[in-house]
């Protein structure tokens, strides 16, 4: 299905390469030309096996023919010969590295052959190169990027992708399980969900989607059901706490505490709890939790950010700045860290450095679209300044 869309849409690109093909044909014009024409005719008449055979023969004559490589790759994909499609598409992309739809097909082929890290890389390349206005193809690519991000434990990125997908269209039931998996931080593809966890993941997914779509009436009921049905499952209380953080901070803190009782090694629950405690003015406890989180995950920027904020609030500005600078080094894209540093540098008379932070903030706010998904994961991704 995707392939047909691609075939049709990519004809224009293939046609634009005709001039090159003609030059290439000069050395053996008849045989290559005839083979290509016959192959295309066979393809148009749905004689696909014959078309594949003819495209292969054409490639023997001219291994760099963009048209032959593209059509062969696309047809092999359509016939679910994914490993072969992948090899042909790689050759095509070595010549046409700007072809977004080809990156998409390559990534999808790699997804089918279960080379997940590479599939993600190439599907993201498809997104970067662009797929024109082909909505169906884009949705397919976005969906697979989302589930692969979760599979590779990049849950916050996955939640961001979900947010983008939900923002761009009507509610899609196929997003429920990916939302549940990303929300519960379970690194499975939907096809890998253990049967006895499917209900829990669906319930969590429904709640996450409701939250991301800001259907507040459903959010509370869905999370309530989730917590009642699965009180001992890791990440359930965290998710509930994250959903309550903005409007009901006290209840959120209680949920994060429950999460820590179930998942004692959760750095993320510590960070979110520290964030709530800083907002409540409980800096000592916040600092202790942030430092524990740093010990568990030294590279988690948000843990350093919380430690920095707590230290500054306690009066240790130089210690706080040091932590904030570590956070900035670990993840320069966090707006809140730059805000914290701007204030700290300004308070200590370091005007030049404060100025630099101001420009960083402007850059970040110009490049980022507002997102709500961060509240379900690592709060450091929230680019809003601290209150």
């Amino acid at each position: 299905m995707i392939c047909r869309v691609l075939l049709a849409s990519f004809l224009a690109a293939a046609a634009s390469s005709t001039a090159l093909a003609q030059v290439q044909q000069a050395s053996s014009p008849q045989s290559f030309d005839q083979l290509l024409q016959s192959a295309e005719k066979a393809r148009d008449e749905d004689r696909n096996d014959e078309a594949i055979h003819l495209f292969r023969l054409a490639l023997v004559q001219n291994p760099n023919s963009e048209e032959a490589l593209w059509f062969l790759g696309a047809m092999l994909y359509e016939k679910e010969q994914f490993a072969e499609a992948r090899n042909v598409l790689r050759s095509f992309l070595a010549i046409r590295s700007d072809a977004g739809p080809a990156w998409a097909l390559l990534g999808m082929s790699e997804f089918q052959t279960r080379q997940y890290p590479r599939a993600l890389q190439h599907l993201q390349r498809a997104m970067a190169e662009g797929m024109g206005d082909r909505k169906e193809l884009m949705q397919t690519v976005f969906y697979h990027v989302t589930i692969l991000l979760t599979r590779l434990e990049r849950y916050d990125d996955s939640l961001d992708m979900l947010q983008r997908m939900l923002a761009s269209g009507a509610p899609d039931p196929t997003l429920i399980e990916p939302a549940g998996l990303a929300g519960l931080r379970l690194p499975y593809l939907p096809a890998e969900i253990p049967p006895d966890q499917r209900d829990m993941i669906a319930l969590a997914g429904k709640a996450v989607v409701a939250l991301q779509m800001q259907r507040q009436d459903e959010v509370n009921a869905d999370f309530e059901r989730l917590v009642i049905a699965y009180p001992d499952q890791p990440r359930v209380h965290f998710l509930r706490g994250a959903s309550l953080a903005e409007l009901h901070p006290d209840q959120a803190m209680a949920e994060f505490e429950r999460e820590l009782a179930i998942s004692p090694s959760s750095a993320l629950a510590r960070v979110r709890l520290a964030q709530q405690l800083i907002a409540a003015g409980e800096y000592d406890r916040a600092l202790a939790l942030a430092q524990q989180a740093i010990q568990l995950e030294p590279k988690r920027a948000s843990a350093h950010m919380m430690a920095g904020e707590a230290l500054i609030a306690k009066g240790d500005t130089s210690g706080g700045i040091k932590e904030l600078e570590t956070a900035r080094q670990d993840d320069p894209s966090i707006g809140r860290v730059h805000w914290d540093l701007l204030r700290a540098y300004a308070a200590t008379g370091r005007k030049d450095e404060a100025g630099k932070e101001k420009s960083e903030i402007e850059k970040i706010y110009h490049s980022n679209s507002p997102s709500h998904s961060q509240s379900l994961g690592d709060s450091s991704r929230d680019s809003q300044p601290p209150q």
Partner: protein
């Protein structure tokens, strides 16, 4: 006269050829290098191709051609380039790349062979290449039914690489002795591979993160308590943590689920031997050999028990079998040296000691995980 002229012409032609070919080749080589450094990859590939056609012995050309093709995921072509380098100074890293290309081409048997050749050549390559090659080598060892060796390799990079999902997946497969690659295991195994992998990865960190290892191992045990290999895995984590009573309980639990589980019998025998319970250690080692005659650790354990009982000839026979099954196991060589010394066969004792030293110098390339773990514990003390 007539014979002189052709000779003269040939001499002139040869001189001309000698004068133009190298300069032409050098020009191409320079252009290739420029294209490569300017990131004009298709041009660089074409120019290196041209260069090696002009001078097939150009090792640098093959190297850069292979590397560029590899970076473009053109593994078939890259593989051919690296084949040309296995008898040059690029031999070591060329074997690593060759193994990687063969892996990508799903030619797993050849890939394993290439990785072994790479190890034999001293694990050469840039740090990035070593990490990637070692990872794939480990995957293939797991698939080949050598999970202990695989885990040894993976555990050696885990502290540096940290919590990387691909690494924990590989450790999960090896920890549970599942003879699959990440790309071909059944989806229903995903959860247990993830949980076991995380537990193994955290246990292998430096300093060890046993709290998190236990969290994941405990979740695994809760979810799959009736499944084979789960309690054995839990036992290995407890052993690593020096919690011998808990480890023993888990190994025995495994034997109630899988009565012929040779690794559990070996693990229990090792614990018995530490407690000087040589009778049960010997019985368990014998049962383990019955269950799996090809288990080198079972023969090793029985050899140690027999040695401690003073039955040196039978001990020698068991240790020799262990050596045949695991020639790179430094522990086996150490015990063989001891038995030979006790038997007064000093030449053979010296030979085994020398082999032991050589293996230690190779950092126990294929030493069992227990050796590494023992080393880690000693280091901690």
């Amino acid at each position: 006269m007539s014979s002189i002229i052709p000779g003269f012409l040939i001499a002139i032609l040869m001189a001309t050829s000698a004068a133009t070919s190298p300069s032409h080749f050098e020009a191409i080589a320079k252009q290739a290098e420029t294209a490569r450094t300017q990131d004009r990859v298709p041009d660089a590939i074409r120019l290196y191709g041209e260069g090696i056609r002009l001078r097939p012995s150009w090792a640098d050309g093959w190297w850069y051609l292979g590397s560029l093709l590899y970076d473009q995921d053109r593994f078939n072509d890259a593989s051919s380039a690296f084949q040309h380098l296995t008898s040059t100074s690029y031999r070591g890293p060329a074997y690593a790349f060759l193994g990687l290309c063969e892996y990508e081409n799903r030619n797993y048997e050849a890939a394993l062979k290439s990785f072994r050749a790479w190890a034999g050549a001293g694990w050469a390559g840039s740090p990035e290449l070593v990490d990637v090659a070692l990872f794939h080598f480990a995957l293939l060892l797991t698939q080949d039914g050598r999970p202990v060796e695989s885990l040894y390799l993976l555990a050696s990079v885990a502290p540096r690489l940290g919590d990387v999902p691909e690494l924990s997946e590989a450790m999960g497969l090896a920890s549970l002795g599942l003879r699959y690659l990440p790309e071909n295991y059944p989806p229903e195994l995903r959860e247990r591979i993830w949980l076991a992998g995380k537990a193994a990865l955290y246990a292998a960190q430096s300093p060890h993160d046993f709290a998190r290892a236990d969290e994941f191992a405990s979740r695994l045990e809760k979810r799959y308590s009736g499944q084979p290999d789960i309690h054995y895995f839990r036992g290995t984590i407890f052993t690593f943590e020096n919690k011998t009573a808990e480890a023993e309980r888990e190994y025995r639990e495994e034997l109630t689920i899988s009565p012929h589980h040779s690794p559990s019998m070996v693990a229990l025998a090792a614990l018995d031997l530490e407690k000087a319970n040589r009778v049960e250690a010997g019985e368990l080692a014998r049962h383990a050999i019955e269950a799996d005659p090809e288990n080198p650790e079972a023969h090793h354990l029985l050899g140690r028990v027999l040695m401690e009982n003073g039955d040196l000839h039978d001990s020698l026979s068991e240790l020799a079998t262990a050596k045949r099954l695991a020639p790179d196991n430094a522990g086996v060589r150490a015990h063989l040296a001891m038995v030979y010394a006790k038997l007064g066969r000093s030449q053979e004792a010296k030979a085994e000691s020398a082999a032991l030293l050589a293996l230690k110098n190779k950092e126990g390339v294929m030493a069992p995980l227990t050796v590494k773990l023992r080393g880690a514990k000693e280091g901690a003390h």
